[in-house]
Protein backbone atom coordinates (compact mmCIF):
# COMPACT_ATOMS: atom_id res chain seq x y z
CA UNK A 1 0.00 0.00 0.00
CA UNK A 2 1.86 2.93 -1.21
CA UNK A 3 0.57 6.45 -1.47
CA UNK A 4 -0.77 7.37 -4.83
CA UNK A 5 1.37 10.30 -5.69
CA UNK A 6 -0.18 10.58 -9.11
CA UNK A 7 -3.01 12.66 -7.74
CA UNK A 8 -2.92 15.99 -9.44
CA UNK A 9 -1.50 18.84 -7.50
CA UNK A 10 -4.57 20.96 -7.10
CA UNK A 11 -4.47 24.66 -7.37
CA UNK A 12 -7.37 26.63 -6.10
CA UNK A 13 -7.55 29.10 -8.88
CA UNK A 14 -11.16 29.03 -9.95
CA UNK A 15 -13.91 31.00 -8.25
CA UNK A 16 -15.24 29.13 -5.18
CA UNK A 17 -18.34 27.23 -6.13
CA UNK A 18 -19.30 26.59 -2.58
CA UNK A 19 -17.95 28.67 0.19
CA UNK A 20 -18.51 28.37 3.88
CA UNK A 21 -17.59 31.41 5.86
CA UNK A 22 -16.84 31.31 9.50
CA UNK A 23 -19.80 29.27 10.65
CA UNK A 24 -20.56 28.57 14.24
CA UNK A 25 -23.04 25.88 15.22
CA UNK A 26 -24.71 25.14 18.51
CA UNK A 27 -26.78 22.06 19.29
CA UNK A 28 -29.59 22.22 21.78
CA UNK A 29 -28.70 25.81 22.58
CA UNK A 30 -25.76 24.73 24.70
CA UNK A 31 -23.38 22.44 22.85
CA UNK A 32 -21.03 24.50 20.73
CA UNK A 33 -19.76 22.25 17.97
CA UNK A 34 -18.37 24.37 15.15
CA UNK A 35 -16.28 27.30 16.21
CA UNK A 36 -15.81 29.29 13.08
CA UNK A 37 -15.28 26.95 10.16
CA UNK A 38 -14.47 28.34 6.73
CA UNK A 39 -13.84 26.37 3.61
CA UNK A 40 -14.15 26.60 -0.13
CA UNK A 41 -14.93 24.16 -2.87
CA UNK A 42 -13.93 25.38 -6.31
CA UNK A 43 -16.02 24.34 -9.25
CA UNK A 44 -15.19 20.95 -10.61
CA UNK A 45 -12.94 19.98 -7.75
CA UNK A 46 -13.00 17.33 -5.11
CA UNK A 47 -12.41 18.60 -1.62
CA UNK A 48 -11.89 16.29 1.31
CA UNK A 49 -12.90 17.14 4.84
CA UNK A 50 -10.88 15.11 7.30
CA UNK A 51 -10.79 14.89 11.01
CA UNK A 52 -11.26 12.66 13.98
CA UNK A 53 -14.55 11.43 15.38
CA UNK A 54 -16.60 14.28 16.64
CA UNK A 55 -14.54 16.92 14.93
CA UNK A 56 -17.65 18.31 13.32
CA UNK A 57 -17.44 17.05 9.76
CA UNK A 58 -20.99 15.82 9.59
CA UNK A 59 -22.17 18.96 11.28
CA UNK A 60 -20.43 21.08 8.66
CA UNK A 61 -22.06 19.15 5.86
CA UNK A 62 -25.45 19.36 7.49
CA UNK A 63 -25.03 23.07 7.93
CA UNK A 64 -24.38 23.45 4.23
CA UNK A 65 -27.38 21.38 3.25
CA UNK A 66 -29.54 23.13 5.89
CA UNK A 67 -30.48 19.79 7.38
CA UNK A 68 -29.34 21.01 10.75
CA UNK A 69 -32.69 22.50 11.68
CA UNK A 70 -34.25 19.10 12.11
CA UNK A 71 -31.63 18.18 14.68
CA UNK A 72 -32.09 21.14 16.91
CA UNK A 73 -28.88 22.70 15.78
CA UNK A 74 -28.57 26.43 15.17
CA UNK A 75 -26.16 28.29 13.00
CA UNK A 76 -25.30 31.24 15.15
CA UNK A 77 -22.71 32.86 12.96
CA UNK A 78 -21.43 32.84 9.44
CA UNK A 79 -22.89 32.13 6.06
CA UNK A 80 -22.83 29.64 3.24
CA UNK A 81 -22.67 30.58 -0.42
CA UNK A 82 -23.34 28.34 -3.33
CA UNK A 83 -22.75 29.57 -6.88
CA UNK A 84 -22.40 33.04 -5.49
CA UNK A 85 -25.75 32.98 -3.75
CA UNK A 86 -26.39 32.84 -0.05
CA UNK A 87 -28.10 29.56 0.66
CA UNK A 88 -28.26 29.16 4.40
CA UNK A 89 -31.90 30.17 4.50
CA UNK A 90 -33.06 27.91 1.69
CA UNK A 91 -34.88 24.67 2.17
CA UNK A 92 -33.09 21.44 1.29
CA UNK A 93 -35.48 21.02 -1.60
CA UNK A 94 -34.42 24.32 -3.11
CA UNK A 95 -30.81 23.34 -2.65
CA UNK A 96 -31.27 20.04 -4.40
CA UNK A 97 -32.95 21.89 -7.22
CA UNK A 98 -29.96 24.17 -7.46
CA UNK A 99 -27.81 21.12 -7.83
CA UNK A 100 -26.54 20.49 -4.32
CA UNK A 101 -27.21 17.01 -2.97
CA UNK A 102 -26.15 15.31 0.20
CA UNK A 103 -25.49 11.73 1.10
CA UNK A 104 -26.05 11.52 4.80
CA UNK A 105 -23.92 9.70 7.27
CA UNK A 106 -25.35 6.44 8.46
CA UNK A 107 -27.17 5.55 5.27
CA UNK A 108 -30.68 6.74 6.02
CA UNK A 109 -32.42 4.66 3.43
CA UNK A 110 -36.19 4.55 3.40
CA UNK A 111 -36.52 1.21 5.09
CA UNK A 112 -39.98 0.30 3.90
CA UNK A 113 -39.36 1.25 0.29
CA UNK A 114 -37.70 -1.13 -2.08
CA UNK A 115 -34.20 -0.36 -3.27
CA UNK A 116 -35.59 0.74 -6.59
CA UNK A 117 -38.17 3.02 -5.01
CA UNK A 118 -35.43 4.48 -2.88
CA UNK A 119 -33.49 5.31 -5.99
CA UNK A 120 -36.56 6.72 -7.68
CA UNK A 121 -37.26 9.10 -4.84
CA UNK A 122 -33.80 10.44 -5.49
CA UNK A 123 -35.06 11.78 -8.78
CA UNK A 124 -37.91 13.59 -7.12
CA UNK A 125 -36.76 17.06 -8.05
CA UNK A 126 -36.31 16.18 -11.70
CA UNK A 127 -39.10 15.81 -14.17
CA UNK A 128 -38.17 12.83 -16.19
CA UNK A 129 -40.00 10.78 -18.74
CA UNK A 130 -40.20 7.07 -18.20
CA UNK A 131 -37.30 6.21 -20.51
CA UNK A 132 -35.16 8.90 -18.98
CA UNK A 133 -35.92 7.58 -15.55
CA UNK A 134 -35.02 4.12 -16.67
CA UNK A 135 -31.78 5.40 -18.07
CA UNK A 136 -30.90 7.15 -14.83
CA UNK A 137 -31.68 3.96 -12.93
CA UNK A 138 -29.60 1.88 -15.26
CA UNK A 139 -26.70 4.17 -14.73
CA UNK A 140 -26.86 3.65 -10.99
CA UNK A 141 -27.26 -0.08 -11.47
CA UNK A 142 -24.29 0.00 -13.72
CA UNK A 143 -22.23 1.52 -10.96
CA UNK A 144 -23.66 -0.76 -8.28
CA UNK A 145 -24.62 -4.08 -9.78
CA UNK A 146 -25.35 -5.40 -6.31
CA UNK A 147 -28.25 -2.99 -6.09
CA UNK A 148 -29.74 -4.35 -9.26
CA UNK A 149 -29.87 -7.79 -7.71
CA UNK A 150 -31.60 -6.50 -4.65
CA UNK A 151 -33.78 -3.93 -6.39
CA UNK A 152 -37.04 -5.45 -5.22
CA UNK A 153 -36.04 -5.88 -1.57
CA UNK A 154 -37.11 -3.46 1.06
CA UNK A 155 -34.11 -1.36 1.90
CA UNK A 156 -34.55 -2.06 5.59
CA UNK A 157 -33.68 -5.68 4.98
CA UNK A 158 -30.55 -5.20 2.97
CA UNK A 159 -27.05 -5.37 4.34
CA UNK A 160 -25.19 -2.36 5.63
CA UNK A 161 -23.09 -2.02 2.54
CA UNK A 162 -26.04 -2.37 0.24
CA UNK A 163 -27.76 0.42 2.08
CA UNK A 164 -24.73 2.61 1.74
CA UNK A 165 -24.68 2.00 -2.00
CA UNK A 166 -28.35 2.74 -2.14
CA UNK A 167 -27.85 6.06 -0.39
CA UNK A 168 -25.12 7.08 -2.79
CA UNK A 169 -27.08 5.91 -5.80
CA UNK A 170 -30.07 7.84 -4.59
CA UNK A 171 -28.11 11.07 -4.49
CA UNK A 172 -26.79 10.44 -7.99
CA UNK A 173 -30.34 10.17 -9.27
CA UNK A 174 -30.80 13.89 -8.66
CA UNK A 175 -28.03 14.63 -11.14
CA UNK A 176 -26.43 17.20 -8.90
CA UNK A 177 -23.63 19.53 -9.83
CA UNK A 178 -22.23 19.34 -6.35
CA UNK A 179 -22.44 16.45 -3.92
CA UNK A 180 -21.77 16.45 -0.20
CA UNK A 181 -20.64 12.95 0.66
CA UNK A 182 -20.54 11.97 4.30
CA UNK A 183 -18.33 8.96 4.81
CA UNK A 184 -19.13 7.13 1.60
CA UNK A 185 -16.67 4.37 2.35
CA UNK A 186 -18.09 3.42 5.69
CA UNK A 187 -18.89 -0.27 5.81
CA UNK A 188 -18.06 -0.83 2.19
CA UNK A 189 -15.83 -3.58 0.97
CA UNK A 190 -12.43 -2.27 -0.11
CA UNK A 191 -12.73 -2.87 -3.80
CA UNK A 192 -16.12 -1.17 -3.81
CA UNK A 193 -14.58 1.75 -1.98
CA UNK A 194 -12.16 2.09 -4.83
CA UNK A 195 -15.06 1.80 -7.21
CA UNK A 196 -17.02 4.47 -5.41
CA UNK A 197 -14.12 6.82 -5.51
CA UNK A 198 -13.66 5.88 -9.12
CA UNK A 199 -17.22 6.94 -9.71
CA UNK A 200 -16.56 10.16 -7.87
CA UNK A 201 -13.57 10.87 -10.02
CA UNK A 202 -15.51 9.89 -13.10
CA UNK A 203 -18.40 12.19 -12.38
CA UNK A 204 -15.98 14.88 -11.47
CA UNK A 205 -14.05 14.66 -14.68
CA UNK A 206 -16.76 13.77 -17.15
CA UNK A 207 -19.64 15.74 -15.79
CA UNK A 208 -17.78 18.38 -13.87
CA UNK A 209 -19.50 17.55 -10.61
CA UNK A 210 -17.85 19.07 -7.54
CA UNK A 211 -17.52 17.10 -4.33
CA UNK A 212 -17.10 17.87 -0.71
CA UNK A 213 -16.46 14.65 1.09
CA UNK A 214 -16.10 13.93 4.72
CA UNK A 215 -13.99 10.85 5.03
CA UNK A 216 -12.22 8.83 7.62
CA UNK A 217 -10.45 6.76 5.07
CA UNK A 218 -7.83 9.44 4.66
CA UNK A 219 -5.54 7.64 2.34
CA UNK A 220 -8.17 7.01 -0.28
CA UNK A 221 -9.69 10.42 0.19
CA UNK A 222 -6.44 12.24 -0.30
CA UNK A 223 -5.62 10.08 -3.25
CA UNK A 224 -8.73 11.22 -5.09
CA UNK A 225 -9.21 14.70 -3.73
CA UNK A 226 -7.72 17.89 -5.06
CA UNK A 227 -7.78 19.74 -1.83
CA UNK A 228 -8.23 18.94 1.81
CA UNK A 229 -9.21 20.45 5.12
CA UNK A 230 -8.52 18.95 8.47
CA UNK A 231 -10.99 19.64 11.20
CA UNK A 232 -10.29 19.20 14.87
CA UNK A 233 -12.64 20.13 17.65
CA UNK A 234 -14.77 22.31 15.45
CA UNK A 235 -11.92 24.27 13.93
CA UNK A 236 -9.98 23.93 10.73
CA UNK A 237 -6.47 23.12 11.82
CA UNK A 238 -4.86 22.45 8.50
CA UNK A 239 -5.65 22.91 4.87
CA UNK A 240 -3.86 22.48 1.62
CA UNK A 241 -3.60 20.66 -1.64
CA UNK A 242 -4.23 16.99 -1.21
CA UNK A 243 -0.75 16.07 -2.27
CA UNK A 244 0.75 18.50 0.21
CA UNK A 245 -1.34 17.11 2.99
CA UNK A 246 -0.52 13.58 2.03
CA UNK A 247 3.13 14.33 2.38
CA UNK A 248 2.81 16.22 5.63
CA UNK A 249 4.48 14.35 8.43
CA UNK A 250 1.70 14.83 10.94
CA UNK A 251 -0.97 13.82 8.52
CA UNK A 252 1.06 10.83 7.58
CA UNK A 253 1.43 9.81 11.14
CA UNK A 254 -2.04 10.41 12.45
CA UNK A 255 -4.29 10.04 9.47
CA UNK A 256 -2.47 7.66 7.23
CA UNK A 257 -0.86 5.52 9.83
CA UNK A 258 2.52 5.66 8.24
CA UNK A 259 5.48 7.00 10.12
CA UNK A 260 9.02 7.47 9.06
CA UNK A 261 9.62 3.77 9.08
CA UNK A 262 6.74 3.04 6.72
CA UNK A 263 3.36 1.61 7.58
CA UNK A 264 2.99 0.26 11.09
CA UNK A 265 1.20 -2.94 11.69
CA UNK A 266 -1.99 -2.58 13.67
CA UNK A 267 -0.60 -5.15 15.97
CA UNK A 268 2.02 -2.72 17.13
CA UNK A 269 -0.39 -0.12 18.22
CA UNK A 270 -0.76 -1.47 21.63
CA UNK A 271 2.65 -0.38 22.59
CA UNK A 272 2.25 2.96 21.04
CA UNK A 273 1.16 6.16 22.67
CA UNK A 274 0.81 9.14 20.46
CA UNK A 275 -0.06 12.75 20.69
CA UNK A 276 -1.01 15.19 18.06
CA UNK A 277 1.61 17.83 17.90
CA UNK A 278 -0.73 20.68 17.10
CA UNK A 279 -2.96 19.93 20.01
CA UNK A 280 -0.19 19.80 22.53
Amino acid sequence: MTMNTAAAAATVSSQPYLSVNNIEVIYDHVILVLKGVSLQVPQGKIVALLGANGAGKSTTLKTISTLLRGERGDVTKGEVQFKGERVDQLTPNELVKRGLSQVMEGRHCFGHLTIEDNLLTGAYTRTLSRPQLKEALDKVYHYFPRLKERRASQAGYTSGGEQQMCAIGRALMAKPSMILLDEPSMGIAPQIVEEIFGIVKDLNQKENVSFLLAEQNTSVALRYADFGYILENGRVVMEGAATDLASNEDVKEFYLGVSGAGRKSFRDMKFYRRRKRWLA
Binding site: I26, D28, H29, V30, L32, R72
Partner: protein, 352 residues
Protein backbone atom coordinates in the same frame (compact mmCIF):
# COMPACT_ATOMS: atom_id res chain seq x y z
CA UNK B 1 -22.35 32.15 39.03
CA UNK B 2 -24.17 30.56 41.91
CA UNK B 3 -25.13 27.43 40.16
CA UNK B 4 -21.87 25.57 39.87
CA UNK B 5 -20.70 22.13 40.55
CA UNK B 6 -17.12 23.31 40.51
CA UNK B 7 -15.38 22.38 43.70
CA UNK B 8 -17.83 19.60 44.45
CA UNK B 9 -15.70 16.55 44.03
CA UNK B 10 -17.08 13.14 44.48
CA UNK B 11 -14.79 10.73 46.12
CA UNK B 12 -16.93 7.65 45.91
CA UNK B 13 -19.29 6.14 43.37
CA UNK B 14 -21.75 6.12 46.17
CA UNK B 15 -21.70 9.87 46.16
CA UNK B 16 -21.83 10.02 42.42
CA UNK B 17 -24.84 7.72 42.36
CA UNK B 18 -26.91 10.12 44.39
CA UNK B 19 -30.19 11.26 42.95
CA UNK B 20 -29.10 14.86 43.06
CA UNK B 21 -25.36 14.94 42.68
CA UNK B 22 -25.16 18.71 42.72
CA UNK B 23 -25.28 20.32 46.11
CA UNK B 24 -27.42 23.27 45.09
CA UNK B 25 -30.05 20.87 43.80
CA UNK B 26 -30.12 19.03 47.07
CA UNK B 27 -30.54 22.26 48.97
CA UNK B 28 -33.32 23.35 46.66
CA UNK B 29 -35.13 20.06 47.01
CA UNK B 30 -34.75 20.16 50.75
CA UNK B 31 -36.20 23.63 50.83
CA UNK B 32 -39.04 22.56 48.60
CA UNK B 33 -39.87 19.66 50.87
CA UNK B 34 -39.83 21.89 53.91
CA UNK B 35 -42.18 24.28 52.20
CA UNK B 36 -44.42 21.47 51.02
CA UNK B 37 -44.48 19.70 54.35
CA UNK B 38 -44.38 22.41 56.90
CA UNK B 39 -45.45 25.66 55.34
CA UNK B 40 -48.01 24.73 52.71
CA UNK B 41 -50.53 23.09 55.07
CA UNK B 42 -50.43 26.15 57.26
CA UNK B 43 -50.18 28.94 54.75
CA UNK B 44 -52.05 27.67 51.72
CA UNK B 45 -55.76 28.31 51.58
CA UNK B 46 -58.08 25.31 51.67
CA UNK B 47 -58.80 26.08 48.03
CA UNK B 48 -55.15 25.77 47.07
CA UNK B 49 -54.81 22.62 49.07
CA UNK B 50 -57.90 20.77 48.04
CA UNK B 51 -58.44 22.03 44.53
CA UNK B 52 -54.89 22.56 43.29
CA UNK B 53 -52.29 20.77 45.34
CA UNK B 54 -54.10 17.54 46.05
CA UNK B 55 -55.16 16.88 42.46
CA UNK B 56 -51.76 18.05 41.31
CA UNK B 57 -50.04 15.48 43.49
CA UNK B 58 -52.45 12.73 42.56
CA UNK B 59 -52.09 13.42 38.86
CA UNK B 60 -48.34 13.58 39.29
CA UNK B 61 -48.42 10.11 40.73
CA UNK B 62 -50.55 8.81 37.90
CA UNK B 63 -48.30 10.56 35.41
CA UNK B 64 -45.32 9.02 37.09
CA UNK B 65 -46.94 5.64 36.71
CA UNK B 66 -47.58 6.21 33.05
CA UNK B 67 -44.12 7.62 32.62
CA UNK B 68 -42.64 4.41 33.95
CA UNK B 69 -44.49 2.50 31.30
CA UNK B 70 -44.35 4.91 28.41
CA UNK B 71 -41.39 7.09 29.16
CA UNK B 72 -39.02 4.52 30.56
CA UNK B 73 -40.19 1.22 29.15
CA UNK B 74 -41.41 2.72 25.89
CA UNK B 75 -44.86 1.13 25.86
CA UNK B 76 -47.38 3.74 24.81
CA UNK B 77 -50.57 3.30 26.78
CA UNK B 78 -53.98 4.90 26.69
CA UNK B 79 -55.43 2.84 29.49
CA UNK B 80 -54.16 4.81 32.46
CA UNK B 81 -57.57 5.77 33.74
CA UNK B 82 -58.66 2.16 33.70
CA UNK B 83 -55.79 1.19 35.97
CA UNK B 84 -56.70 4.09 38.23
CA UNK B 85 -60.26 2.84 38.31
CA UNK B 86 -59.13 -0.65 39.26
CA UNK B 87 -57.06 0.85 42.05
CA UNK B 88 -59.93 2.94 43.34
CA UNK B 89 -62.65 0.31 43.16
CA UNK B 90 -60.20 -2.26 44.46
CA UNK B 91 -59.33 -0.20 47.51
CA UNK B 92 -63.01 0.54 48.07
CA UNK B 93 -63.89 -3.11 48.03
CA UNK B 94 -61.07 -4.14 50.30
CA UNK B 95 -62.14 -1.63 52.91
CA UNK B 96 -65.77 -2.50 52.41
CA UNK B 97 -65.43 -6.22 52.65
CA UNK B 98 -62.64 -6.83 55.07
CA UNK B 99 -63.46 -5.39 58.45
CA UNK B 100 -60.67 -3.48 60.05
CA UNK B 101 -58.71 -3.19 56.86
CA UNK B 102 -56.14 -0.43 57.34
CA UNK B 103 -56.63 2.17 54.68
CA UNK B 104 -53.03 2.34 53.56
CA UNK B 105 -52.97 -1.40 53.11
CA UNK B 106 -56.15 -1.08 51.10
CA UNK B 107 -54.42 1.43 48.82
CA UNK B 108 -51.56 -0.99 48.37
CA UNK B 109 -53.96 -3.84 47.65
CA UNK B 110 -55.86 -1.64 45.23
CA UNK B 111 -52.57 -0.88 43.55
CA UNK B 112 -51.76 -4.56 43.40
CA UNK B 113 -55.11 -5.34 41.80
CA UNK B 114 -54.31 -2.72 39.21
CA UNK B 115 -50.91 -4.28 38.74
CA UNK B 116 -52.55 -7.62 38.11
CA UNK B 117 -54.85 -6.15 35.50
CA UNK B 118 -51.88 -4.31 34.07
CA UNK B 119 -49.94 -7.50 33.62
CA UNK B 120 -52.89 -9.18 31.95
CA UNK B 121 -53.31 -6.37 29.47
CA UNK B 122 -49.58 -6.01 29.12
CA UNK B 123 -49.23 -9.45 27.64
CA UNK B 124 -49.95 -8.34 24.09
CA UNK B 125 -47.08 -5.85 24.33
CA UNK B 126 -44.76 -8.75 23.76
CA UNK B 127 -45.83 -8.75 20.17
CA UNK B 128 -47.38 -5.38 19.53
CA UNK B 129 -45.57 -2.11 19.43
CA UNK B 130 -45.99 1.62 19.13
CA UNK B 131 -49.30 3.12 18.15
CA UNK B 132 -50.72 -0.33 17.57
CA UNK B 133 -50.16 -1.04 21.22
CA UNK B 134 -51.56 2.34 22.19
CA UNK B 135 -54.74 1.68 20.34
CA UNK B 136 -54.88 -1.78 21.79
CA UNK B 137 -54.59 -0.48 25.34
CA UNK B 138 -57.85 1.29 24.68
CA UNK B 139 -59.32 -2.16 25.05
CA UNK B 140 -58.31 -1.99 28.71
CA UNK B 141 -59.95 1.34 29.07
CA UNK B 142 -63.30 0.30 27.69
CA UNK B 143 -63.29 -3.19 29.09
CA UNK B 144 -62.52 -2.21 32.66
CA UNK B 145 -65.16 0.51 32.72
CA UNK B 146 -67.63 -1.89 31.21
CA UNK B 147 -66.91 -4.42 33.92
CA UNK B 148 -67.34 -1.80 36.61
CA UNK B 149 -70.76 -0.86 35.30
CA UNK B 150 -71.81 -4.44 34.63
CA UNK B 151 -70.68 -6.26 37.75
CA UNK B 152 -72.71 -4.97 40.68
CA UNK B 153 -70.49 -6.74 43.19
CA UNK B 154 -67.68 -4.31 42.39
CA UNK B 155 -69.76 -1.33 43.35
CA UNK B 156 -71.30 -3.03 46.36
CA UNK B 157 -74.65 -3.33 44.56
CA UNK B 158 -75.14 0.39 44.49
CA UNK B 159 -78.06 0.81 42.13
CA UNK B 160 -76.27 3.29 39.91
CA UNK B 161 -72.73 2.03 40.11
CA UNK B 162 -71.63 4.96 42.18
CA UNK B 163 -69.36 4.36 45.12
CA UNK B 164 -68.64 6.57 48.04
CA UNK B 165 -65.11 6.22 49.25
CA UNK B 166 -64.84 5.48 52.93
CA UNK B 167 -63.34 7.97 55.30
CA UNK B 168 -59.60 7.84 55.60
CA UNK B 169 -58.61 6.89 59.11
CA UNK B 170 -55.13 5.88 60.09
CA UNK B 171 -54.48 4.78 63.65
CA UNK B 172 -57.60 6.49 64.77
CA UNK B 173 -56.74 9.79 63.18
CA UNK B 174 -59.27 10.95 60.66
CA UNK B 175 -57.98 12.68 57.56
CA UNK B 176 -60.82 14.94 56.67
CA UNK B 177 -59.50 18.46 56.53
CA UNK B 178 -57.88 19.59 53.30
CA UNK B 179 -54.56 20.05 55.07
CA UNK B 180 -54.51 16.55 56.52
CA UNK B 181 -55.54 14.97 53.24
CA UNK B 182 -52.89 16.99 51.52
CA UNK B 183 -50.22 15.77 53.88
CA UNK B 184 -51.28 12.19 53.41
CA UNK B 185 -51.23 12.50 49.64
CA UNK B 186 -47.93 14.30 49.76
CA UNK B 187 -46.39 11.59 51.87
CA UNK B 188 -47.61 8.82 49.61
CA UNK B 189 -46.51 10.62 46.48
CA UNK B 190 -43.12 11.57 47.87
CA UNK B 191 -42.34 8.05 48.99
CA UNK B 192 -43.48 6.55 45.74
CA UNK B 193 -41.57 9.09 43.70
CA UNK B 194 -38.46 8.22 45.63
CA UNK B 195 -39.02 4.53 45.01
CA UNK B 196 -39.55 5.21 41.34
CA UNK B 197 -36.39 7.21 41.14
CA UNK B 198 -34.50 4.40 42.82
CA UNK B 199 -35.85 1.84 40.42
CA UNK B 200 -34.96 4.01 37.50
CA UNK B 201 -31.38 4.45 38.52
CA UNK B 202 -30.89 0.77 39.20
CA UNK B 203 -30.89 -2.24 36.99
CA UNK B 204 -34.69 -2.42 36.60
CA UNK B 205 -34.76 1.10 35.26
CA UNK B 206 -31.95 0.40 32.87
CA UNK B 207 -33.70 -2.72 31.67
CA UNK B 208 -36.80 -0.67 30.91
CA UNK B 209 -34.89 1.98 29.08
CA UNK B 210 -32.95 -0.60 27.13
CA UNK B 211 -36.14 -2.24 26.00
CA UNK B 212 -37.52 1.13 25.09
CA UNK B 213 -34.54 2.26 23.08
CA UNK B 214 -33.90 -0.95 21.21
CA UNK B 215 -35.57 -4.10 22.26
CA UNK B 216 -33.65 -6.43 19.99
CA UNK B 217 -30.36 -5.21 21.35
CA UNK B 218 -31.69 -5.46 24.88
CA UNK B 219 -32.48 -9.08 24.28
CA UNK B 220 -29.03 -9.74 22.90
CA UNK B 221 -27.54 -8.24 26.02
CA UNK B 222 -29.51 -10.57 28.18
CA UNK B 223 -32.59 -8.71 29.29
CA UNK B 224 -35.67 -10.84 29.10
CA UNK B 225 -38.24 -8.91 27.16
CA UNK B 226 -41.26 -10.56 28.66
CA UNK B 227 -40.15 -10.09 32.21
CA UNK B 228 -39.03 -6.54 31.69
CA UNK B 229 -42.13 -5.39 29.89
CA UNK B 230 -44.53 -7.10 32.24
CA UNK B 231 -42.71 -5.71 35.23
CA UNK B 232 -43.03 -2.26 33.72
CA UNK B 233 -46.73 -2.84 33.23
CA UNK B 234 -47.09 -4.09 36.77
CA UNK B 235 -45.17 -1.26 38.42
CA UNK B 236 -46.79 1.36 36.26
CA UNK B 237 -50.27 0.04 36.91
CA UNK B 238 -49.51 -0.16 40.59
CA UNK B 239 -48.65 3.52 40.61
CA UNK B 240 -51.72 4.38 38.61
CA UNK B 241 -53.83 2.20 40.86
CA UNK B 242 -52.67 3.97 43.99
CA UNK B 243 -53.20 7.31 42.28
CA UNK B 244 -56.71 6.20 41.34
CA UNK B 245 -57.43 5.21 44.91
CA UNK B 246 -56.21 8.57 46.16
CA UNK B 247 -58.29 10.25 43.49
CA UNK B 248 -61.37 8.59 44.91
CA UNK B 249 -60.51 8.66 48.61
CA UNK B 250 -58.66 11.91 49.07
CA UNK B 251 -60.11 13.99 46.31
CA UNK B 252 -63.49 13.23 44.81
CA UNK B 253 -65.06 11.21 47.60
CA UNK B 254 -67.98 9.91 45.65
CA UNK B 255 -67.19 8.54 42.22
CA UNK B 256 -68.85 6.79 39.38
CA UNK B 257 -66.83 4.62 37.02
CA UNK B 258 -67.25 7.34 34.41
CA UNK B 259 -64.86 9.52 36.42
CA UNK B 260 -62.13 7.28 35.06
CA UNK B 261 -62.98 7.69 31.42
CA UNK B 262 -60.82 7.92 28.37
CA UNK B 263 -60.60 11.65 28.85
CA UNK B 264 -58.64 11.13 32.04
CA UNK B 265 -56.31 8.70 30.31
CA UNK B 266 -55.58 11.31 27.72
CA UNK B 267 -55.03 14.01 30.29
CA UNK B 268 -52.42 11.90 32.01
CA UNK B 269 -50.78 11.19 28.71
CA UNK B 270 -50.68 14.92 27.95
CA UNK B 271 -49.02 15.46 31.27
CA UNK B 272 -46.10 13.21 30.57
CA UNK B 273 -45.60 14.43 27.06
CA UNK B 274 -45.70 18.06 28.06
CA UNK B 275 -43.67 17.42 31.16
CA UNK B 276 -41.13 15.14 29.61
CA UNK B 277 -41.33 11.55 28.53
CA UNK B 278 -38.88 9.56 30.56
CA UNK B 279 -38.39 11.97 33.41
CA UNK B 280 -39.60 11.80 36.98
CA UNK B 281 -39.44 15.54 37.31
CA UNK B 282 -41.35 15.80 34.04
CA UNK B 283 -44.30 13.92 35.51
CA UNK B 284 -44.61 16.60 38.14
CA UNK B 285 -44.07 19.51 35.81
CA UNK B 286 -46.53 18.09 33.32
CA UNK B 287 -49.17 17.54 35.96
CA UNK B 288 -48.68 21.08 37.16
CA UNK B 289 -49.03 22.35 33.62
CA UNK B 290 -52.21 20.47 32.84
CA UNK B 291 -53.80 21.21 36.22
CA UNK B 292 -52.78 24.82 36.50
CA UNK B 293 -52.93 26.14 32.98
CA UNK B 294 -56.70 25.82 32.50
CA UNK B 295 -57.25 27.41 35.89
CA UNK B 296 -54.93 30.20 35.04
CA UNK B 297 -56.53 30.73 31.65
CA UNK B 298 -59.94 30.61 33.20
CA UNK B 299 -59.06 33.27 35.72
CA UNK B 300 -57.46 35.31 32.98
CA UNK B 301 -60.49 35.02 30.72
CA UNK B 302 -62.66 36.24 33.55
CA UNK B 303 -60.33 39.12 34.12
CA UNK B 304 -60.82 40.14 30.52
CA UNK B 305 -64.60 40.12 30.99
CA UNK B 306 -65.23 38.25 27.77
CA UNK B 307 -68.60 36.66 27.16
CA UNK B 308 -68.37 33.26 28.81
CA UNK B 309 -68.81 31.11 25.75
CA UNK B 310 -66.15 33.08 23.90
CA UNK B 311 -63.89 32.86 26.91
CA UNK B 312 -64.36 29.12 27.22
CA UNK B 313 -63.58 28.49 23.58
CA UNK B 314 -60.62 30.82 23.62
CA UNK B 315 -59.37 29.03 26.68
CA UNK B 316 -59.43 25.75 24.83
CA UNK B 317 -57.69 27.25 21.85
CA UNK B 318 -54.97 28.86 23.91
CA UNK B 319 -54.48 25.61 25.76
CA UNK B 320 -54.03 23.75 22.49
CA UNK B 321 -51.79 26.42 21.09
CA UNK B 322 -49.60 26.39 24.17
CA UNK B 323 -49.13 22.65 23.92
CA UNK B 324 -47.93 23.06 20.36
CA UNK B 325 -45.80 26.02 21.34
CA UNK B 326 -44.02 24.14 24.10
CA UNK B 327 -43.41 21.19 21.85
CA UNK B 328 -41.83 23.43 19.29
CA UNK B 329 -39.65 25.14 21.84
CA UNK B 330 -38.65 21.85 23.42
CA UNK B 331 -39.94 18.55 22.07
CA UNK B 332 -38.61 16.73 25.07
CA UNK B 333 -40.86 18.52 27.42
CA UNK B 334 -40.65 20.90 30.30
CA UNK B 335 -38.19 18.73 32.17
CA UNK B 336 -35.71 19.09 29.35
CA UNK B 337 -36.34 22.80 29.19
CA UNK B 338 -35.55 22.95 32.85
CA UNK B 339 -32.39 20.97 32.33
CA UNK B 340 -31.22 23.21 29.51
CA UNK B 341 -31.98 26.17 31.69
CA UNK B 342 -29.78 24.69 34.36
CA UNK B 343 -27.00 23.98 31.90
CA UNK B 344 -27.14 27.55 30.75
CA UNK B 345 -27.09 28.71 34.31
CA UNK B 346 -24.00 26.64 34.88
CA UNK B 347 -22.26 28.41 32.04
CA UNK B 348 -23.58 31.79 32.97
CA UNK B 349 -22.29 34.45 32.60
CA UNK B 350 -20.17 33.00 29.81
CA UNK B 351 -22.16 32.46 26.69
CA UNK B 352 -20.83 28.98 25.94
Amino acid sequence: MFYREAGQFKTSYQADNQIFPIRQDRIALGALLVVALALAPVLASPYTLSAILIPFLIFSLAALGLNILTGYAGQLSLGTAAFMAVGAFGAYNFVQRIPGMPILLAFVLGGLSAALVGVAFGLPSLRIRGFYLAAATLATQFFVLWCLTKIPYLTNYSSSGVITAQKITILGYEFDSPASKYLLVLAVVAVMALLAKNMIRSNVGRSWMAVRDMDVAAEVIGFRLMRTKLLAFAVSSFYCGVAGALYAFAYLGTVEPEAYNLDLSFRILFMIIIGGVGSVLGSFLGAAFIVLLPVFLNVLAHGLALPTSVASNLELMVFGALIVFFLIVEPHGLARLWQIGKEKLRLWPFPH
